[in-house]
């Protein structure tokens, strides 16, 4: 590979704008068509070996960003690059490599597995697709993968409906590993599970990442999960990255008021509930001028409603999009 020095993923001012009808009248040219900016000027770099957490509440644009990264959704503006090439217009051989190198773990693991295929067929599919093993070795390879994710090789003959939620997630992980990817993209891969199952999976993912040198892009709403798995973090709010940097430092001393609010809102043993933010994430349709967090920000100043802050490097390795960051 000649592109080893290039970052794996690079997003340059990616925007995703949906145009929506303002009801029946707008189709007749009466009334205005409105815009929904799901992503607005996203800049993100993921290098080989990085583990990056994308954190934000629902409606923050995490999932749209993921779809752009995977080439499932075309961006409206800006460029999304994989090893220097535009993801949307990859040449055939590069697309094939992309499909093998980038593996996805869905939030709805059960939904991402065809219920009519056995575990053997499910995990074997990427192996066969990319010609990674002979037909005769298939069962052995699947057994190895199953063992790798902490499941018994006998599971190969079962169907997803016969597995528990935690087991299904393990199968989804094994399937993602099958194509020997460089990057694992995981969308809320441990949410909605029991704490014990979640902890088991987190340990599994961390082990895989360390042992196999995987690059990890992990979408989560849970800051603690982000800090357990990822060395870097990007916090999103309403289609923008508001803060990015090394996870430990960002969580120790958040610079954006939103990051701090998220941090304080996560439950902590024996501390009173901290209701840190009022109201809810506003609708991304026709946003007002100024900082988009201004409507909920506890530290809002007059200029916040006029000037929109851009993501700027404030200190070594710390990017913040705030006019009045919380640096001491």
């Amino acid at each position: 590979m000649t592109n080893q020095a290039l970052p794996l993923f690079r997003l340059l001012d990616v925007e995703k704008i949906y145009r929506i009808d303002g009801g029946g009248w707008s189709r007749l040219g009466i009334g205005s068509r409105r815009q929904l900016a799901a992503l607005d000027g996203i800049r993100l770099t993921v290098r080989t070996g990085d583990s990056v957490a994308l954190v934000g509440e629902s409606g923050s644009g995490k999932s749209t960003l993921l779809r752009v990264l995977l080439g499932l959704t075309a961006s409206s503006n800006g460029r999304a690059l994989y090893q220097g090439d535009d993801i949307e217009t990859l040449a055939d051989d590069k697309r094939r490599a992309f499909q093998r190198d980038v593996a996805m773990i869905y939030q709805d693991a059960r939904g991402s597995l065809n219920p009519r295929l056995s575990v053997l067929d499910l995990i074997g599919e990427p192996l066969r697709q990319h010609g990674l093993c002979l037909a005769a070795e298939l069962r052995d390879r699947v057994a190895v993968l199953l063992t790798r994710v902490g499941m018994s090789p006998d599971t190969a003959d079962r169907y997803p409906s016969q597995l528990s939620g935690g087991q299904v997630r393990r199968v989804a992980i094994a399937r993602a590993l099958a194509s020997q990817p460089k990057v694992i993209v995981a969308d809320e891969a441990v949410s909605g599970l029991d704490v014990s199952t979640q902890a088991q999976l987190l340990n599994l993912l961390r082990g895989l990442q360390r042992e196999m040198g995987l690059t990890l892009l992990f979408i989560t709403h849970d800051l603690a999960v982000a800090s357990y798995l990822c060395s870097r973090i990007a916090v999103m709010y309403l289609g923008r990255i508001v803060e990015a940097g090394p996870t430990k430092e960002v969580l120790r001393a958040p610079a954006h008021p939103y990051t701090r609010a998220l941090l304080r809102a996560s439950p902590r043993f024996f501390e009173p509930i901290a209701e840190t933010l009022e109201g809810e994430i506003p609708s991304p349709i026709d946003l007002p001028a100024g900082c988009r967090f201004a409507s909920r920000c506890p530290r809002v100043a007059p200029d916040c409603r006029q000037r929109e802050p851009t993501l700027m490097t404030m200190r070594a390795d710390r990017d913040v999009a705030c006019l009045h960051p919380l640096f001491d």
């Binding site: 499932l72 499909q99 996805m104 939904g111 065809n114 009519r116 599919e125 169907y159």
Partner: protein
Amino acid sequence: MVAPDLLQRGEASTRSGSALLRDLVRACLYQLRARPFFGVAAFIAVAFLLAAVFAPWVAPFEPTFQDANHLMAPPNAVHWFGTDSFGQDLLSRVIYGARYAFLIGFCSVAIGAMGGLAIGLAAGLRGGAVEWSLMRFVDAILALPSLIMAIAFISILGQGVDKVIYAVGFAMIGPFARTVRADVLQVRTRTFVEAAGLMGVDRLRIVWRHILPNVIFPLAVQATIRISEAILVSSGLSFLGLGVVPPTPDWGLMISEGRAFISFVPWISGVPGAALALLLIALSIVGDGIREQFDPKMRANR
């Protein structure tokens, strides 16, 4: 109320190959236990089927054998269900008639399901103009009741058992195509299809491995339910004199033949009529039971 152990099996039913048959048998066994009515209906349907298959051994006479000494005889020891105006034994004709009923029912449903699958798949997968024109074609078929459609086809194809099969089969393509397209559209948006695409699985393979199996199963359930409809339509055709030609022992034809004597020899029409009614009711109860077991919409309380 569906028993939880079966709920699990119901879930497992979303599988392929021989598992499908096994689940079907399991479902029947469960229905048998849960509702005695289903048992009676299944027994009747199976009895008809066996009689049809083994007709030459079961029937006391040849279906076209004319007993000149017993014209229009009432039920008696020799002719259990009596004879018709040609002296043909009604029981034997009803038994042989079941052959035609099942033959026409199965074959025409197979044609309808195949045609519906092709059109539905094409429409659901291609989308756009292809979908639009195919679905308008289907709408046109559906605009007329299946009996009228079948009459139209018969008038083009001519009479005979094979022609009836084609006619009824074509008339059934419409409803099958609709359900297949709806299922394809729904399955296409499922996450596992997107996931396969992300892995680089090519389109044809996705259709074959991921979409088709999830469409075939509801189609098979549909087909079991529609067999009774096909039998009814084919009998209707024969009754109207448009279907099979005499002396073929077809129930519709037999009912039609007895019509002239209905006031004083009621059994000529009555016996095939009762056979038809009994089989259709039995088949719909069996079909409902199977659907209840497998239709995901009716399994919502899982």
